[in-house]
Symmetry: C2
Subunit: 200 residues, 2 copies
């Protein structure tokens, strides 16, 4: 079997941001395609009655420390954006619009949007900010703005989110290799070993 | 600096159970003492308005799968006890009673009590069960029963729990190296690297 690695993430997820810098290397090492699938974590929190990390005082106190340490460890620039977390419809819709044209470019866009938010601290809710990220990759900004209003991409993001709920995705980042689920940036070493050994 | 590794855990914590099988090897590798400190996770959940893992449907669905996989990975026998989670006053008090006599023996007791619960599936709430575990290690069962009713050990467990709350411990297992906090069995590799490199 050579299932791809499915990489589900929300653009407002800090550990997703770190994982986005690491996952392609693991895919290449094991010659597995990585399929990037942004979804809306907020919808899942609603279904599961979960709260964002930042609203859980004790956990957030630890996690903000762990995030800085984890980012330093992997050499990923990290800042806590002033407004966090945020809804990420704009970035998600733009991603699927680019993905329909060029999957590799969509991954570059995802990294660039993530960096805009978590490295530069810029609020990526506005469509104009997302269009600017797309323009920076040589895409047509006006077409990107139109795509974010297009029912096709609104629906696509909703569908991926509904699929995530159906597959019991409970956080971001979340990975699947076939039906095998892995939750968290801190499962990437296990994924590496899973692919190396064929599972256990 | 050669701070010890502080290992805080609740006897009802599955990932604490796995970590208990791994932490001494890391301590030995880096010539660091490991100080075992059972505490009461329920008290922390109350303060932080957190819910046990098992009460969070989506998370528990994933975590029960991840637990089996993690236990297999580290060669640790694992069963989900019929009654889970449980309050762990008896085991915690007995631990500190043994710890006052022999720290090495207390670690053996902790592993044996953990295995009674998570490998054999036996409810370890009853003092009699805990006294039996102690007897199996050559300790005096009647003295162990008395110790679990002794204010000294009731207070000791409360103090360690209060100290954990004060240090923002948000789950089990939790580790400190000096002031540096690490949460989760899945941070043990990072602890290993932290000790190897002196931190980053």
């Amino acid at each position: 079997m050579s299932d791809p690695i499915e990489f589900l993430f929300d653009f407002s997820s800090p550990y997703g941001y770190v994982a986005a810098h690491r996952i392609e290397e693991i895919g290449q090492k094991h010659e597995r395609e990585v399929i990037w699938k942004p979804f809306l974590l907020g919808a899942i929190f609603q279904v599961n009655d979960q709260r964002p990390l930042k609203d859980q005082a004790l956990k957030w106190d630890y996690s903000s420390h762990d995030l800085s340490r984890t980012a330093r460890h992997y050499g990923v620039k990290w800042t806590l954006p002033e407004i966090f977390p945020i809804p990420t419809q704009a970035a998600g819709r733009a991603f699927y619009w680019i993905n329909d044209q060029d999957r590799g470019l969509a991954k570059k866009f995802a990294l660039a949007a993530y960096q805009k938010y978590f490295a530069d601290g810029v609020d990526i809710r506005p469509k104009e900010v997302i269009a600017e990220v797309a323009t920076g990759l040589g895409l047509d900004g006006a077409a990107c703005l139109a795509a974010m209003e297009d029912d096709v991409y609104k629906l696509k993001l909703k569908e991926v989110t509904a699929e995530a709920i159906e597959r019991n995705v409970c956080g971001s980042p979340f990975f699947f290799i076939g039906d095998e689920p892995f939750w968290g940036n801190d499962r990437l070493d296990m994924i590496d070993e899973w692919l190396e050994t064929g599972g256990w």
